[in-house]
């Protein structure tokens, strides 16, 4: 199985908890014979690297250097993520089984890659704008929420890390419960559950042409 993981933070760039989790996920997947590519952001360590643990990382920078906030920054970074993912896809003879997108940042890229190249994706929810912004509903927050909604609508499956979060995505975004998989990180057999979720996706997107 060949998987592309999208995450806006990944070591050595650490913003919060997500970087460590994605790294651990990658290491465990490699141990289970999954070919893992991580597409992530770094301002200058750009390009393709082979990590000692067997993960391949592809870091991209933002071509637009000046921004008015995180939202415009994210929206111009997505095309570089698409470029990196496409390079991996064409380099792998157009065979990528799925994309695992962590949080909202690279959802636009995941959606385009699905629509264009028929690669299904999982949306791994780390946190939600509703909780990060304490319910604020400015146009800025609403825009991020609309991207979260798009991800939940277009994803084949959601992976959340607690039952509370499953209830929240269901409450806030009306996602059907059977679409949401609760996997507690590092709990017994968690990686097996991730793998099973991945396998349930293989070949799910098949557009009529």
């Amino acid at each position: 199985m060949r998987v592309i993981i999208l995450s806006w933070e990944y070591p050595p760039r650490i913003v919060g908890q997500l970087a460590y989790y994605v790294k651990e996920l990658g290491v465990q997947l490699v141990k289970n014979n999954v070919e893992v590519y991580v597409v992530t952001y770094h301002d200058y360590l750009t390009g393709l690297y082979n990590e000692p643990e067997g993960i391949k990382t592809f870091r991209v920078a933002n071509p637009v250097r000046t921004h008015t906030g995180v939202l415009t920054w994210v929206l111009t970074l997505n095309q570089e993520v698409e470029r990196a993912a496409s390079n991996i896809y064409y380099g792998a003879n157009k065979h990528i089984d799925l994309i695992d997108a962590h949080d909202w940042h690279f959802i636009p890229a995941a959606v385009t890659l699905k629509k264009a190249l028929n690669i299904p994706f999982v949306y791994s929810v780390e946190s939600l704008e509703e909780h990060r912004s304490h319910g604020a509903n400015s146009p800025f927050n609403m825009a991020i929420k609309s991207i979260e909604w798009l991800g939940m609508y277009e994803a084949e499956k959601l992976i959340v890390k607690s039952e509370w979060m499953r209830d929240e995505v269901s409450r806030l975004y009306k996602v059907p419960l059977e679409k949401v998989k609760v996997i507690q990180p590092k709990s017994a057999g968690w990686i097996k559950e991730v793998l099973e979720t991945y396998k349930s996706l293989k070949g799910r997107v098949d557009y009529e042409s």
Binding site: T66, T68, L75, T76, T112, L113, A116, N118, F140, A143
Partner: protein
């Protein structure tokens, strides 16, 4: 090529959605490309009452949800709209089995969508730069402007070729983004003379009498009433023109300077000599251009100057400021009169020259009309654009993406 050349145009405006000059440009270009055997798909923003999919003059038009949620500012809306545009265009190309040869983007307003599509489908991208942020703002002063400027730079970087509509814009865009000279191609903007032919034989005397007395000449200005269009230069030229000729000045368009301008005109005691019509429909505009004894374009900044071409198509003699694209459209004393920019004396001289010498005016309008038909017709422009496509595809066929 075994099948017809296929292009996907990305534009934020397409009729009936008309914000500025890109909409008629993309419409006329697409239509003329279709007549020249190019399969054209247009992906654009939705508009109330316009269908999601339709075929207009052989062009397949797809309108996408343009993200109608409130946005923090215009640029953020543009980037969010591009998420939807890219998603829909991606599904469309996938549905066509990838049978799109080229993506053609118009301005930074579709930059992010088109750049992503280029990489995902590995097809060449061509960008037409209709304007620039640094030109519109006369410099880059704030982060917001710089963000747009850098997005434009990125689009020109990712584009295989960059098309500009005048030699002036070619050098401006080359300077603004530091591009290699061989990346830029000049393909002029065009004007469709056909609608002007329709009002050719109409008796416009009663229409004319709504604007001017029979003994008054009509001096016509068409444009947004903003600083860069130089309408204030025209206002200062009015008394000097009236010393020599009896004329009525008709000002078509709206803008933030309107109130200020009409106050100044009242103070100058010229209220009976100037009419502000506001925005008018296409037919009224064409009739006005037909009736005008002279059309003036006194712009300070002008990437192209389509309004001068339209006047020339209407067989109205033109007086333009010698700047930007206008310098190239008009040949002095052959297809119009060129005057110094931001100089009321010079502008008054030009207007008076045309109004007081009927033989000269006739010579100018005949030459100008001929020039428009020869150089600025959409069929020719479509062929030039198709040549650019074919050149790019030939280079592309030797790349490892092909």
């Amino acid at each position: 090529m075994s099948r017809e050349l296929t292009v996907m145009m990305l534009t934020w405006e397409f009729p009936p959605r008309i914000i500025g000059g890109i909409s008629p440009h993309v419409y006329n270009l697409s239509k003329s490309l279709a007549k020249n055997g190019v399969k054209v798909y247009v992906v654009t923003c939705d508009f109330p009452g316009a269908p999601q999919h339709e075929v207009i003059d052989g062009v397949e038009v797809f309108r996408i949800d343009s993200y109608k949620n409130p946005s923090p500012d215009f640029a953020t809306w543009v980037y969010l709209m591009n998420v939807n545009m890219q998603k829909e265009a991606a599904a469309l190309v996938n549905g066509l089995d990838g049978k799109v040869d080229i993506f053609h983007a118009h301005d930074w307003l579709v930059a992010t969508a088109s750049i992503g599509l280029k990489h995902v489908f590995r097809k060449p991208l061509i960008a037409t730069m209709h304007s620039t942020e640094i030109g519109r703002r006369n410099g880059i002063h704030f982060d917001y402007e710089r963000m747009i400027h850098e997005t434009e730079a990125w689009l020109t970087y990712e584009a295989w070729k960059v098309i500009c509509c005048s030699g002036y814009m070619v050098s401006h865009v080359q300077w603004a983004f530091g591009l290699p000279a061989d990346k830029l191609v000049m393909v002029p903007n065009g004007v469709d003379v056909e609608p002007y032919g329709k009002v050719e034989n109409e008796d416009l005397s009663s229409f004319r009498s709504k604007f001017a007395m029979p003994d008054e000449k009509i001096v016509l200005f068409v444009g947004r009433l903003v600083y860069e269009k130089g309408v204030h230069v025209l206002v200062n030229a009015i008394p000097k023109v009236l010393e020599k000729v009896n004329a009525k000045f008709v000002v078509v368009g709206n803008g933030y300077m309107k109130e200020q301008l009409s106050n100044i005109i009242n103070y100058m005691g010229l209220a009976q000599k100037v009419i502000f019509t506001g925005f008018v429909d296409d037919e009224t505009l064409r009739k006005l251009q037909k009736c005008a004894d002279v059309s003036v374009v006194p712009s300070l900044f002008e990437p192209f100057g389509i309004v001068a071409l339209e006047a020339m198509a209407a067989k109205s003699p033109v007086v333009v400021s010698d700047t930007g694209g206008l310098s190239e459209i008009v040949e002095h004393d052959v297809t119009g009169v060129k005057v110094f920019p931001e100089n009321p004396e010079s502008l008054a001289w030009g207007i008076t020259r045309v109004l007081t010498d009927e033989d000269h005016a006739k010579w100018l309008r005949e030459n100008a009309y001929k020039r428009v038909c020869e150089k600025y017709n959409w069929n020719l422009i479509a062929q030039q654009t198709k040549d650019v496509y074919e050149t790019v595809l030939k280079e592309y066929s030797k790349s490892f993406w092909a």
